[in-house]
Point group: C2
Chain length 409, copies 2
């Protein structure tokens, strides 16, 4: 029975009986400081309310999907209008074609798209298309990078076979020599190099891409007849709608998109160039819900709003405000705080804080003051975060720095 009055602790107790470990996956708060909300009652804009009635300015954005603000009226309206017609039918609705056209227009390298549901679906399809097109097996990827949670890429090896990762080899992100060595080792069997637009792994500083590395990756793929795959699942639409590496003049052959596409409605996509169209046609992949119309209608509205409102510019401006404010506070309070990666997807880590003692304490103090930060995962900004939200956030973080100083951790 639903007990609407159940708070976070009661829900956790109930969940521990019917869900392994009480929760799983990236939304499991087990590794976050005590008191972090696990269950949410409501969302609007950049605000979340947990089941205990606490209000937060949310810097996780659903771990990415919330690009325009939770329950953005235009997206909701588009989704409802389509829901009133039909969603998961025996075939797609016309909006699938329109969304395909819109994405081909938006993503610079794209001549075609293919829709799926998970980010992992999209990255997996990229590998399959690359292997179908080249007839080769080897995929090179950056060491430790997250590309999803299928057996070939999940960060935990439990239940995963060696063979699930056969012909997948690693190099170090931003390290030209390491990439060159991996390419040499792959020899004639190189199908693709798979990269995220920047390095955004948990528990470590993010790293912006070195333009020299980016261009060299493209050159090496071209020289070897291999494909360059860009995993934009986490970055898509926040960094640059046309593709995160457009500013380097580098285009991938294949790209994977997810999270933000439907502003939270479930849809992901693979985009590819003309030469790969035939391979994409020859592979077989599908899903029960992949042709559902409502997320596609939501995605069309998301693209429209994102374009009109220049969302990637907004999140960059607001993200810079947050970064500058935190940097100033850290300095004033005498803490070494490393803020890394694009300001649209902030991550901060305290110096000399291997065990995250300071990071956890600081995030917990901010959380108690109504600001949901993450101590070791990159965060996300949205169109709904305003100057006023940043100011309010910085008040909370200033108090959190004071508390941290006092705690002398």
């Amino acid at each position: 029975m639903t007990k609407l009055s159940d708070g976070d602790q009661a829900l956790r107790a109930r969940a521990s009986k019917v869900i392994p470990g009480g929760m799983y996956g990236h939304e499991n708060v087990a590794r976050l400081p005590a008191g972090y909300p696990q269950y949410f009652a409501r969302a609007e804009g950049c605000r979340l309310w947990d089941v205990d009635g606490r209000e937060f300015i949310d810097y996780l954005c659903g771990y990415g999907p919330n690009l325009l603000g939770y329950r953005h009226p235009e997206v909701e309206q588009a989704a409802r209008a389509q829901a009133d017609l039909g969603d998961c039918m025996t075939g797609p609705a016309p909006c699938m074609v329109e969304l395909g056209e819109r994405l081909v227009d938006t993503i610079e390298h794209a001549d075609w798209v293919l829709f799926c549901k998970n980010g992992t679906d999209a990255t997996t399809i990229c590998l399959t298309v690359a292997r179908a097109h080249t007839g080769k097996r080897t995929i090179l990827r950056a060491r430790g990078t997250y590309h999803g949670a299928a057996p070939w890429c999940t960060p935990v090896r439990e239940g995963v076979l060696q063979e699930d990762r056969a012909h997948i080899h690693s190099f170090d992100y931003n390290d030209v020599a390491s990439l060159e060595a991996a390419v040499d080792k792959a020899g004639d069997d190189l199908a693709a190099v798979l990269l995220t637009p920047h390095r955004h792994e948990v528990f470590q500083d993010q790293a912006l891409p070195d333009p020299v590395f980016v261009r060299r990756a493209r050159e090496l793929c071209d020289a070897r007849g291999a494909l360059l795959i860009l995993d934009e699942v986490r970055t898509g639409l926040r960094i640059a709608p046309g593709g995160s590496w457009e500013r380097f003049g580098v285009r991938p052959d294949l790209s994977a998109w997810g999270k933000t596409l439907g502003n939270g409605y479930p849809v992901s996509a693979v985009a590819g160039t003309e030469v790969l169209r035939d391979a994409a046609k020859r592979i077989y992949t599908t899903g029960s819900f992949w042709f559902a119309a409502v997320p596609m209608a939501a995605a069309i509205a998301t693209l429209s709003v994102a374009k009109r409102e220049h969302v990637s510019t907004h999140v960059e401006v607001i993200g810079q405000q947050l970064r500058d404010g935190l940097a100033e506070q850290a300095l004033a309070h005498g803490f070494g705080l490393r803020q890394t990666g694009p300001v649209q997807m902030p991550l901060f880590l305290f110096d000399d804080d291997r065990e995250l003692v300071r990071g956890n304490f600081f995030a917990a103090e901010a959380m108690r003051r109504g600001v949901l930060l993450h101590p070791w995962h990159n965060m996300f900004l949205s169109l709904a975060h305003t100057d006023a939200d940043i100011r309010r956030t910085l008040q909370a973080t200033d108090a959190a720095f004071t508390a941290l100083r006092k705690a002398n951790l």
Copy 2:
């Protein structure tokens, strides 16, 4: 730009530019008779309207998900109520816990559940849990059975490596000797036997499970310390809500669910027994949209309506009416028609029709008369199919048989 006036042919022409092959996956009508609708404008109950304004009684039900009728008011209401609060947030909503409890109550063998998005996610997780629990690698599956579209199971080998299917071996469904031989060959390395509740492959007669085979599969797993995995993605809630093999007194260790769970809203699930809880906790799997609240709220409503309305009984009764009517007509018109599998998931194939000349012609004739049948994929019945729909369907099929006789194919 959306051209609302675009009909099916115009949409196909536009799609051919931005989607590889114009369409992909199981909702691609390329292998269906000419004139079959690819794009749908609207759905309600068991009715679909295509973009050319043609109305159909739909026997595909979105290839399964539509269990209660498209846009079932109680499901829609539950989904909207949750959507007004929040969907894809930074953590789950309370309805995740309630849905977990409801499924553990509903699925007889289940002590826990884990939610995901695709049916393929669910079957893949079953394999991972089985391997994590047993420390063994070999999975035995019935030859030619569809378990999803990931590299380990997609029916098309393009872009798939040999290693993607390492340690996955086949036996023949319902063939005890074949299963025993495969189990013997697996020796000490058997992690699990993976089965669908009945054989429901395309282009061939379905096969109900032989109770001797079902019980032997359970015995063999027990004897070898292996797990029995039941893939209920296509059968779930239509055959029997508690599990399709309950009537044989056989319970799986793990089961995969999808399609119908949210009556079209995207949610799938893995259910498992107590002994597997720890393995399920140790593996890592997740997805950007897996914790979204709206599909879970929809699933709770779906389970409630399905239970109250005895949906599996309804689809059995109505399915029997359709089967009896078609059998009578085939006999009267002098055609050998094989109707196989559970009546809730009907499949029919004409005798001596290897090339599906009769099957395609018959389905096209029914389609022209407002009845959407499938000439080689199992169909699905819903709570929304009424006696009157079956009568109207049988009028159309009677005319289709007459046309088929006249065509002398």
